[in-house]
């Protein structure tokens, strides 16, 4: 039986009397590969920020391997790639190696972990290059390496393919698949690109302030129309796949 990686109980969050998340409960098991989809303002980023401890829940409870998010972060259990990181023009002069190393300061320097993270994300060859000399796809891989350097059990990515070209996106999904299959990493990926996500992940969480549905690939074809109507207010096309994980 799989162990629970993330457990969310009756989670609610509102901002200036506007309900962003309303009484959400779900569980994610170790080794799951989850796509989180929903419209703009549907609460996807807020949910990720709550899971990563960046904001605190007003109601409800989040547990990461039985720990509060802040504690899980301190133990390096969560690797996070935020939404804007690839597009942001970071003013900080830094080499790839410095960026990756900064992901495990509190855990102590480990050259092996740094080398492995850079090899996994395929950024080792430009480790001495400055961050602002890299393309969007290369930058994205650097921040994935940074997220991997603390050897996290959970990897969370918020719209990571925005601003990244098609080939880099393809390579990126291949990397995630490897991490999930070979390192048994739990992955949550938020994306607007429903079709791409549906092709890659094992399960989809559909969120529009409240949790509309959770579905496995096998169940997607039965639920799609109602879910997407509820999510987006109009029908969307989704590609159905049967994955063998």
């Amino acid at each position: 039986m799989k162990q629970i990686a993330i457990k969310i109980d009756a989670l609610s969050f509102e901002y200036q009397n506007y309900k962003i998340l309303d009484n959400i409960s779900f569980e994610i098991n170790n080794g799951d590969y989850i796509g989180l989809i929903g419209p703009n303002g549907g609460g996807k980023t807020t949910l990720l920020k709550l899971i990563t401890g960046l904001i605190k829940p007003q109601k409800g409870r989040i547990r990461i391997h039985g720990l509060a998010p802040e504690k899980a972060c301190q133990k390096g259990q969560i690797g996070y790639v935020p939404q804007r990181i690839v597009q942001t023009n970071i003013q900080c002069p830094a080499t790839v190696e410095e960026v990756v190393t900064s992901g495990r300061i509190h855990l102590g320097q480990s050259n092996k972990a740094i080398e492995n993270a850079m090899l996994d994300a395929d950024v080792e060859k430009f480790r001495h290059r400055s961050l602002d000399s890299l393309s969007g796809g290369e930058k994205q891989r650097v921040f994935i390496a940074r997220a991997l350097v603390s050897n996290p059990s959970i990897l969370i990515l918020d719209e990571p393919t925005t601003g990244v070209d098609a080939q880099a996106t393809k390579n990126f999904y291949a990397l995630l698949k490897d991490l999930n299959q070979w390192q048994k990493m739990t992955i949550i990926i938020v994306s607007h690109d429903i079709e791409a996500v549906a092709k890659e992940v094992d399960s989809v969480l559909c969120l529009n302030r409240e949790l509309i549905s959770t579905c496995k690939h096998e169940g997607m074809k039965h639920t799609s129309e109602e879910i997407f109507k509820a999510l987006y207010g109009s029908e969307k096309t989704i590609i159905h796949h049967h994955h063998h994980v």
Binding site: T52, G53, L54, E70, C73, Q74, K75, G76, I78, Y80, P82, I85, I90, Q91, C92, P93, A94, T95, E97, E98, V99, T101, S102, G103, R104, I105, H106, L107, H128, S130, D132, S133, F143, R146, S150
Partner: protein
């Protein structure tokens, strides 16, 4: 004959060190030249460059209060700038105001308070020009001891949390998820800034304190090196600007703060132009 002339020039050049006040100015200047860009790089990379200027303006209020109530000017300036620094940081982290906009309130407030206190201290001997633009002749032995002691403390703290400060400069959210105590690190950074501002005002003056923390860093950033190398280059530019600025200031009788800042700006333009030229080849 040529050798004699060279020897004479050397003696004249180092005649400056026959005066105790110049020796004090050079030692104090050197310490500030090291610690100002060292902390300044974290302000620049976090788009917080105006923090130093804001704290400098509140330091002026501190100096005016010190003259009015007969207190030590550096301590008064430091206390007021630490209070301001922590308030600015609290306002910023609360999200009530965006980034540097919060600084505007404290910058104007500091200057307003200073002008009220200066007008209230009529007849008190406050040399406003040296406070505003810096004066190499005003570094006392007590000032030097304070700059030396606090300079070493600042240096030790920055060295011990350098990597953490780099992580928050790169991205604050990522640093939080990496388990770093970001709130405490931010508070430490602004307190260090407040201390440096108060210590630097004697040499470069209140109006130009920010320049010493920011311009050497901007000049160093033109070289597009690693964060660590940029820090080291910025410190060297800071040291060169201060030392050459103090020499020039002494021999030409110019205000030390203005001279140091102009040299730092010249280095910025040279490095910017030079690096652009190298990259285009």
């Amino acid at each position: 004959m040529v050798q004699r002339k060279q020897l004479f020039t050397t003696i004249t050049m180092f005649e400056i060190f026959h005066y105790d006040f110049m020796v004090r100015a050079f030692i104090a200047g050197f310490i500030i030249a090291v610690i100002a860009p060292l902390v300044g790089i974290f302000l620049v990379t976090r788009r917080y460059s105006f923090m130093a200027d804001t704290l400098a303006h509140t330091s002026l209020a501190g100096v005016a209060a010190a003259f009015l109530f007969n207190l030590n000017p550096i301590f008064a300036a430091m206390t007021l700038s630490i209070i301001t620094a922590l308030s600015v940081e609290k306002l910023r982290s609360s999200g009530k105001v965006l980034g540097e906009t919060g600084l505007a309130i404290f910058l104007s407030g500091g200057l307003a308070l200073a002008s009220v206190l200066i007008s209230a201290s009529k007849g008190i001997n406050l040399n406003l020009s040296s406070v505003l633009f810096g004066s190499i002749a005003t570094v006392t032995t007590m000032d030097l001891d304070l700059i030396l002691a606090l300079g070493i403390v600042v240096l030790m703290i920055v060295i011990s949390i350098y990597h953490q400060l780099f992580a928050i400069s790169l991205d604050e959210e990522l640093a939080i998820v990496s388990g770093l105590p970001v709130k405490k690190l931010n508070q430490t950074l602004v307190i260090l800034t407040a201390i440096i501002v108060s210590l630097s005002m004697i040499i470069v003056g209140i109006l130009l304190v920010g320049a010493l923390m920011v311009i050497p860093v901007l000049a160093a950033m033109q070289f597009k090196r690693s964060f660590f190398q940029t820090t080291i280059i910025a410190i060297f530019i800071g040291i060169f600007s201060v030392i050459s600025g103090l020499f020039t200031s002494y021999y030409l009788g110019w205000a030390s703060g203005g001279t140091i800042t102009l040299i730092a700006i010249a280095i910025f333009f040279f490095s910017s132009f030079g690096c652009q030229l190298c990259r285009s080849r």
